[in-house]
Amino acid sequence: MALAEAVLSTLILIATFWLLIARQVRAAINGYAAQSILLGGLAIALFAASHLPHLLALGILTIVIKGAVIPAVIKIQVRGTSYRRRETAYYVGFPTALLIGAGLSLIGLVAASRLPFHTDLLSEPVLGLAIAVILVGLFTTMARRDAVLQLAGLLAAENGLLLVGLVVSPGLGLLIEFALFLDVLIGVVVMAFLIARMHETIASTDTSELSRLRG
């Protein structure tokens, strides 16, 4: 079990890095889908070990909604324009982004080791990886100019939070997790709506063209 959890959570962080350095919108969305499926897999693996029924529901929901539905919604929303375009615009170059991402991951691991945790289900390093996923995800949102990639960064960070949730509060309950899912789903719909509006208004999803408001 310990081996499976370590492998899966490391793969989740790798998927987050994939998203961070993706050169195509398509690759970033696939990175998010992969990250979600791995996370769902981890929840199911934890169910196998603990027999907490809501972990199974959480795992299936994660794979279906985040691994399939949300990526599909985003793909439909950006089809034809920026989806296959290479070299999407960014504020931070790839080597720098990788370095900063690595630094943030270290911070996550160190922070997790310094907090006093009681965990039964997952071990402390997983918490470190989870915080690293959150930080790298949020950094992706800041480093990219493309609205779709900014959205993908936020979603990746949210998966990191779900992983933190698995570590620190397996007893938090299904209802809360449902509320979170609903929130994410509505968030994606709202942001996808705004991205569609960008296509109409500025014929692109490059947010650096949205810079008229100042002062």
Partner: protein, 491 residues
Amino acid sequence: MIDASLLVAVVALPLLAALLSLVVAPRFQMPLAVMLQVATFGIALTLIARTLQTGRIQAFSSWLYLDSLSGVVMLVVAVVCVLAAVYSVGYLRHELRERAINPSELRKYFFLFHLFVFAMLLVTISGNLGLLWTSISATTLASAPLVDFYGSHEPLEAAWKFVVLTVAGSLIALLGMLLLYQSGVGPLGTTFDFSIPVLAGAASHLSPTLAATAFLLVLVGFGTKAGLAPMHTWLPDAHSQAPSPVCAMLSGAELNCALLGIFRVYTLTAPAAGATTLRTALLVFGILSMVVAIAFLISQRNFKRLLAYSSVEQMGLIAVGVGVGTPVALIGSLLLVVTHGLTKCLMFFASGNLLLRFRTTTITEIRGVVRAMPWTALLLVAGALAIAGAPPFGVFISEFSIITGAFAGHLWALGAVIAALILLGFIPLVAPFHRMTFSNAATGEAVAGAELSTMSLLPALALLGAVLVIGIWIPTPLNQLLHNAAAVMAR
């Protein structure tokens, strides 16, 4: 039983209104909105009155929970929302006449309007901290499409920035919430009810490190949504690009919902983490917000952005008041939540009239308001004095209490800094409205003298009356509510 029904009704009604607004014809949208929002307002007041009698009310094993602290926020949200519904009628009728919008867009407007009210009221009655987080996040999701309502380049830019930054903030706050849960695992076991009463009961036994970390993350996360510097950068954009009734709700009501999240986690973590640490953090963010906001107030050319930066300043001051932490300062802060909410709402209504008449938000392009729109002129001048903190209005009493509170706690330097910052912000806020109102219109460009409509004036006049009354004599029930809420915060 009655309490449970009322708690459900206060969120069910706006939700029902949202669903109805999807199916009714455009000409029924406005009467429907006003009717259902007035009913919601009535229920909210009943709930607050019951909280005053019994201390707190809860239902469904504390999933829904209302005490004096959330009651204060519910009061502002309810007043601002019902008046925004009435003001929307005057505002949108004018926009329809001018063909700035078409009747089919009313459906979208009111659907989102009601959802926004639903989300904000749900924040005030959330007893489960997971639900509290979810509903605070939901306020962003309901209001962002409203910011983009006019659908051109600038509103879209504002809406996108708003969503990206506040969602990122919400995620940081969620990490804080999860650490808060973890901090309770020691005293309460791995599986416990993540509700306000349960955590409050174990508050002094929470893990101190985790509780302090949780509060800091929530402060940064929800502070982003409350517009605290340096995470405030989205606020002037969003609060100036939305339609004016929505601006009033964003500034007057929504910011307070984010503050409630911070306050609630403060009350739960302070006993274990030590109030001094938490207060220091509040003071740092609060003072920084005031300084940054005043710098932007001074050079501001757009009157809606001016009001938005004033919100950043006031949110900072509210945080400072809690950071001071003495009973008088706490009451001052909570009173400022109420008086800032009402006064800022008044100012967005009045400046909305200005925008509709003159079709610009540039201060220097507007002259001679006192002749063109005498009632709006009165509202603007009195409102600007009120929001800047001049006596005898409510904001003055609140600010005075915070400063007095600092002196009472022997924080002499801090009290002096707060007073100096408030004074620095006074002229840049009052002068532009004074200039637009009293300077003479250049010959030939005088605007024909007419107010827009009664509906566009009455809500603002009601608010002016309210902040004047509060400034002179705080009504006993409100005073009681504030004292009870301060007691919750000081526990």
